[in-house]
């Protein structure tokens, strides 16, 4: 049996590994292994809902805003269920929408340019798109600069980025005045100008395909479209094919109507099902058969105990649990959101990716690019709707209450949910299900693979020393982990040596830091 290990994968966030079995140059089986455990839920028990937002808010320094907001929503839900709270003020809802929208822009830019972009650059893959070259390409450098500007916008509300402090259960601790909101607006506008006009997409697509560059149509847009064109040319539509099952919690609430800009629901058997919050919660279970947690740690997240570690568990291979919806794996992320929202701006997925609802490596990138434009166009509206004269913090956030709550949220990487039971103001039980668990968790007890484990099966591995296609697929999910790939093949024990792209040069080594 050939065993090739690529650990860590790098250029994704966190610790993760994947083991591949390969026969006749094709992946026949994959195991996705999360390689870090901290005990977030265990540590959260015994604390206050306010502190849960702080503690779980720092679960991730890349997705630094979403856990804080999701935990706050769970706390608010619990307080509301206890009839102790009426809900956050409209200004808080709008500011959270705008902030998370800005976060989408930041995260998608980081992902497209810094994490997956290099895989399609001239320097790394010989695609001819040298603007994408790490640290040297003008496109890459422009994205680095833009990510800083957009982070500065977030710091206006949060005090600092990453790990802002002003978002709390009950609303917002900060009271941004008109000039602060204008400062945010102008920073967003600046980045928006870099990105370019949405309606220019068809023209830019033509330009990129013809090898011309018109900065008037947006440098950012040109470079993002370049990534998509390069990926299409490299055959990304033919790899990483998932089961075409999607799930989204929906996001961006209208404070007046509670309507969501991206709707909540699932897509399966070829059609969209819009679901209520209760229907979503009812459908979710977690399985720990192949996780380093005791077998009784799984079940419904509204009832399961905080995961109890069992590091020596024989059959296990991941610190992640296996979440399922009605027993099935579900893909989450920008592609899931746009499929469920029935949006395919400029028919890019139809024309480049084999169909708007097709799960593949290219469509994940296309959807991320499409969503960047869609959200950019909304953020300024949400900012405009904030009225600094109205309150940002509710008057009735209760210090102590008894209740159970669920926060459903939909950050950039996909569906996120937090579950808390509160007794007299103290948390008795806590659960978190992250988007990365949905996409790249382990198998479930029935032996059914996660989305990633399924998506790489059938992919060709031409060069066992450098399974570039597999790496591109893993990165297309924008997983929040650092990753390793173990490759097994029935032929022989095999030690891989992967040639670095540009060994040893500082220029090369910062390629993904945008």
């Amino acid at each position: 049996m050939v065993e090739v290990t690529i650990d860590p994968t790098t250029r994704i966030e966190g610790h993760h590994g994947t083991e591949l079995e390969i026969e006749d140059g094709t992946v026949t089986e994959a195991k996705s292994m999360m390689k870090m455990f901290r005990g977030a839920e265990i540590i959260t028990v015994g604390r206050t809902p306010r502190d849960a937002a702080q503690l779980t808010g720092t679960v991730c320094g890349v997705c630094f805003l979403c856990h804080r907001l999701c935990s706050s929503k769970a706390a608010e839900d619990a307080a509301r269920n206890a009839s102790a709270f009426d809900g956050p003020p409209a200004n808080a809802v709008l500011t959270r929408d705008a902030s998370e929208g800005i976060f989408y822009l930041w995260n998608h830019a980081i992902h497209l340019f810094a994490l997956v972009g290099p895989d399609y650059s001239d320097a790394v893959a010989g695609t001819g798109f040298d603007r994408l070259d790490p640290l040297e390409g003008d496109g890459y450098m422009g994205a680095l600069e833009s990510q800083r500007k957009i982070m500065n916008a977030l710091a206006e509300f949060g005090g600092r980025s990453p790990h802002p402090l002003s978002y709390v259960p009950g609303g917002l601790a900060t009271r941004p005045d008109a000039s602060t909101i204008e400062a945010v607006r102008s920073r967003v506008r600046e980045v928006s100008n870099w990105l370019g006009p949405t309606e220019a997409v068809p023209e830019v697509l033509e330009n990129v395909q013809n090898g011309t560059f018109d900065p008037e149509l947006g440098e950012g847009l040109h470079d993002i479209v370049s990534i998509l064109v390069a990926a299409a040319r490299e055959g990304a539509a033919d790899i990483g094919q998932g089961p075409n099952r999607y799930y989204s919690n929906g996001i961006f609430e209208d404070p007046e109507t509670d309507e969501l800009f991206f709707p909540r629901g699932v897509y399966r058997n070829g059609s969209v099902e819009l679901l209520s919050k209760a229907e979503v919660v009812d459908g979710i279970t977690e399985d720990t058969e192949y996780a380093w947690y005791t077998d009784d740690s799984g079940g419904s997240p509204t009832e399961a105990k905080p995961p109890e570690p069992e590091p020596d568990k024989e059959a296990a291979y991941s610190w992640g649990k296996a979440p399922r919806f009605d027993g099935e794996s579900m893909e989450v992320g920008p592609l899931a959101r746009l499929v469920i929202a029935d949006m395919d701006p400029f028919n890019l997925r139809e024309e480049l990716g084999g169909g708007p609802a097709e799960s593949n490596t290219l469509n994940r990138l296309v959807a991320r690019a499409q969503e960047t434009l869609l959200v950019r166009d909304q953020v300024l509206e949400w900012l405009d709707a904030i009225d600094p004269a109205d309150p940002f913090m509710s008057d009735d956030w209760p210090a102590a209450f008894t209740g159970e709550g669920v926060g459903l949220f939909e950050p950039s990487r996909g569906a996120l949910s937090h579950y808390m039971d509160v007794q007299d103001g103290t948390i008795e039980r806590y659960q978190i299900i992250t988007p990365t668990l949905w996409n790249i968790g382990p198998r479930d007890g029935a032996g059914d693979p996660s989305i990633l484990e399924e998506a790489v099966v059938g992919d060709d591995v031409d060069d066992i020393e450098n399974p570039l296609g597999v790496m591109r697929t893993i990165r297309s999910f924008d997983p929040c982990l650092a990753c390793g790939v173990h490759v097994r093949s029935p032929d022989a024990e095999y030690e891989t040596v992967i040639e670095p792209v540009k060994p040893g040069s500082a220029e090369c080594l910062v390629e993904t830091d945008g």
């Binding site: 290990t5 390689k35 901290r38 810094a114 977030l154 402090l165 601790a173 008057d395």
Partner: protein, 398 residues
């Protein structure tokens, strides 16, 4: 001696801090000036200085233990200089960083310097469950723990930097298992900092550890730390200066100023006006502000290109720069009680105490806080109580 060892030995000699060129200590500079001037003067100075002192590429290894990657993202926001400028101008060769490097798998591990000039660790190191953070493989094909990586690399490194509260003091993963779930003890995975576990030594490297240049682990607390803290510290050490460290081995210029002394809401405190809810008007001490016990210069340095800082947005300081952060200051929305003021009493404060003593409202309480005891609510109970004395013992002395 291999060529690589010779090269390392040569560098060691070149950068003996005692023999470094007499240049401005950038950390002192950072401490003494306002943010704008520090930054402006610093950027040109540093490039110039490093041209002289840097004979070649400095190899950097950046390990992540139990980390959220927030320190990496924070450093990416550095603006004067930016990270990319730092890498270029300091001629840093980051031979390993899980998030930013191009290589993957064994190539990533192979690229990693075995004797780096600077070892940066982000995230805590689990000691009870070492498999809770692994990177790459051991010789027999198993997962290699970050604990083993640290033990292996740190003694070979010229400088070791604990980046963030987790790597410095244990931080988030070391926060208390309050209900003692599953008999896991207080610290679920045995998460420690490199040389500290909260306020106490040792961490995973032991109290006597020194890196190649004879320094302990340089701790840059914070959740996350300000990007300048890392970039300026690297500039300082590579420029041949020895940063002056406090008792938790944090560079003093960054970690000496007391948040409370430079708080934008200080006027409210002085007038005895306290916010009654998050976002309310007034000093945030009753909302759990840890500013009187927390040291960093962010109030003047500001975050994200001078955009803002925690206390500007109605958020009480949570004490993230300090050892013991998480449990020492939580619950974060309740007034922090019975801890001593951790810095020297400034003339301004002393004058204020005098004023308070002359009969202004809450003066007695505040005077007690300034001298180390008491709370605003229950001053009679807390003054001189055993608990306060005990907590006090863990505090920095004045």
């Amino acid at each position: 001696m291999t060529a690589a060892e010779t090269r390392t030995e040569q560098r060691r000699t070149d950068r003996d801090p005692g023999r470094g060129p007499t240049r401005r200590n950038f950390l002192q500079l950072a401490a003494g000036a306002t943010a704008g001037t520090v930054i402006t003067r610093y950027a040109s100075d540093i490039a110039h200085a490093l041209e002289r002192t840097t004979a070649g590429d400095m190899e950097v290894v950046w390990l992540q233990g139990q980390s959220c990657s927030g320190c990496t993202i924070s450093v990416l926001q550095g603006q004067y200089p930016t990270l990319e400028e730092t890498l270029r101008e300091f001629r840093l060769d980051v031979t390993f960083h899980p998030t930013i490097m191009p290589e993957q798998g064994d190539a990533a591990i192979d690229a990693m310097s075995a004797a780096p000039d600077v070892l940066i660790v982000e995230g805590s190191v689990p000691t009870e469950i070492p498999s809770a953070a692994t990177v790459g493989r051991t010789a027999d094909g198993g997962s290699k723990s970050v604990y083993d990586w640290v033990q292996e690399l740190a003694p070979e490194s010229e400088y070791v930097i604990g980046l963030g509260n987790c790597a410095s003091f244990g931080g988030w993963p070391a926060a208390e298992n309050k209900e003692r779930l599953y008999d896991l003890g207080s610290n679920v995975t045995g998460a420690k900092g490199l040389q500290f576990e909260q306020q106490d030594q040792p961490g995973v490297l032991g109290p006597d550890f020194t890196s190649g240049v004879g320094l302990p682990v340089i701790n840059l607390g914070g959740c996350p730390p300000h990007p300048d803290y890392l970039l300026l510290t690297i500039a300082t050490v590579l420029n041949g200066h020895v940063p002056e460290l406090d008792e938790y081995n944090r560079p003093k210029p960054f970690y000496e100023p007391l948040v409370h002394d430079n708080c934008p809401l200080r006027g409210y405190f002085d007038r005895g006006e306290f916010a009654e809810k998050p976002g309310g008007e007034g000093c945030l001490i009753k909302q759990g502000c840890a500013g009187p016990y927390t040291h960093c210069d962010d109030q003047s340095r500001l975050w994200n290109d001078g955009t803002s800082v925690c206390l500007n947005v109605g958020a009480p300081c949570i004490g993230c720069m300090e050892p013991g952060f998480w449990d020492r200051f939580q619950p974060f929305d309740a007034e922090v009680e019975r801890q001593s003021f951790a810095g020297p009493i400034t003339p301004e404060q002393a004058g204020w105490i005098g004023l308070a003593g002359a009969g202004i409202g809450i003066g007695a309480h505040v005077a007690r806080k300034l001298t180390g005891y008491g709370s605003f609510e229950n001053d009679e109970d807390s003054i001189g109580s055993g608990e306060s004395a005990e907590t006090d013992g863990k505090e920095r002395s004045e």
